[in-house]
Structure formats: C-alpha cells, structure tokens
C-alpha cells in the first residue's frame, strides 16, 4: 500500500474535485455533482511497482472523459494533486478514451481512507503510484513535470508492460 504520509481525513460531504487549466480557469465538482456525471462499473487489472498485481478487480467511478468534456485546455500534461500534498504527473491522452477514472468503490465497497477514499484516481494501465489516493484535483501543464515519486527516483511515465519503474 503506497502511503507517502499521514492518511488525510476527508469526508464525502467536504470532498471537492477541481481541474485548473493553464489559463487559471478552475472547474469544480462536489461529491454529488461528480456522481451525477455518471458512474461506470469497471473490471480491470492493477499493477503495483512493488511487484504485485491484482487481476479482475471491480471498481466504480466516473470516467475522466466525462470530466474533460467540460474542460477546455490545450495542455498535454496533467499533475494530479491529493489531499495531504501528494502529486503525480500523467500525460493527458493517457487519462482519456476510457482509460482513467475518479474511483469511489472497489470490490463492492466504498473506498476506505487507507485505500485512498473517499475518492482516488484510477489509471490501471500505469503503475499504481499514478493512481493517486485522496485525489482532489488536476492541474494542466504545458510541459511535463515530475510529481512526488517521479522526482525521487521513479519513472516519469510508469508503464508496467515496459517495466518503467525507475529513471
């Protein structure tokens, strides 16, 4: 379980998700507004950089496609920010086309705080440190910049099929 610091206590009624563009425009969604975008049932494999995988996990969450349908940006890169200060960088095109979600449930249960609840980023085709726990928003970047673990030794990209673990 990846936890680079204390578990931030965030309740759904105080949780908010935002996307800030390169022009400083910020779109915001409350817990209810996010769910109203439409929640997908997802069956997917996940891969941790510490050499474990879980196959056929069931998740529920909102596709990033639905969020970015409401955002105008010309930037190609994203920095995900979490409650507690964690960051991770991801190219925008890897968050689209049904490949990434804001997830609220796993294995039929709401995500516990220890597993990133109330909501975490879910980017299953990349190593799981990219699936930021306690996600609170995305900030668009015109050029690729490293997030927390990417700054401290891990791959800027993190493709498990290419075993992109470290620099």
């Amino acid at each position: 379980m990846l936890t680079a610091g204390p578990t931030p206590p965030v309740q759904p009624d105080e949780w908010e998700f935002s996307v800030e563009t390169e022009k400083g425009q910020t779109s915001r969604w409350s817990w209810d507004e996010m769910h109203a975008l439409g929640v997908d049932d997802i069956e997917i494999d996940i891969h941790c950089v510490t050499h474990w995988s879980r196959l056929g996990m069931n998740w529920r969450g909102v596709s990033l496609d639905k969020i970015f349908a409401q955002v105008t940006t010309s930037s190609d890169y994203v920095m995900a920010h979490s409650y507690g200060g964690y960051t991770t960088n991801i190219p925008l095109d890897e968050l689209l086309d049904g490949r990434a979600w804001i997830a609220f449930e796993a294995d039929g249960r709401p995500l516990t705080a220890e597993h990133g609840g109330p909501a975490r980023l879910l980017v299953p085709h990349l190593y799981f440190w990219k699936s930021a726990k306690w996600v609170r928003g995305l900030r668009m970047m015109e050029r690729e910049q490293p997030g927390f673990w990417e700054s401290n030794g891990y791959s800027i990209h993190g493709d498990p099929w290419k075993e992109e673990r470290y620099w």
Partner: protein
C-alpha cells in the same frame, strides 16, 4: 567564475555521507525547525522511505531503493549540520 564538473565534489561528499545521518541536525526548508533526522516522522512507504518534519509535516527527505540503485533526496532541508 567558471564552473567545474561534479566529479570535483566526490571527495567531499563521500566523506560527508559516511557520518551517522540520524544524529545530524537539519533545518526544514518549509518551517525552519531544526532537528536531528532521528526526530523526523518517517513513513516507510512501499515505494520508498519518506521523512517528514516533526513540526510542519512537510517532506524533508526520501530514499528510493531498487534495481540495484538508491535515490536520495534531501530537498526539504536547507542544510545539514555534521560534526567534523
């Protein structure tokens, strides 16, 4: 003044990094607290070690080990005090 390449620091750095680091004091770059690394709050994350300031909880240092290599970041410290 012209710069020289980093090899010039190898002698001084290898000398410094052989000291016992947990007793070395450092100043938090975020809040200014001065404390020995032994006082830091350490989160032994599966991905690596994360040492946070006892006062403000900002990250002081990280250590990532893997693939036969180690990555050390001290970016949350303004400087480290070492005994000579």
């Amino acid at each position: 003044m012209t710069h020289i390449d980093g090899n010039a620091m190898s002698g001084v750095l290898s000398e410094l990094l052989t000291v016992e680091p947990t007793t070395a004091r450092s100043r938090c770059a975020n809040c200014g607290d001065v404390a020995a690394l032994a006082m830091a709050l350490v989160y032994p994350d599966a991905a690596g070690w994360v040492a946070r300031c006892r006062a403000c909880h900002e990250v002081l240092a990280t250590v990532v080990r893997g693939d036969g290599r180690t990555w050390l970041s001290l970016r949350g410290m303004t400087a480290i005090e070492l005994e000579r």
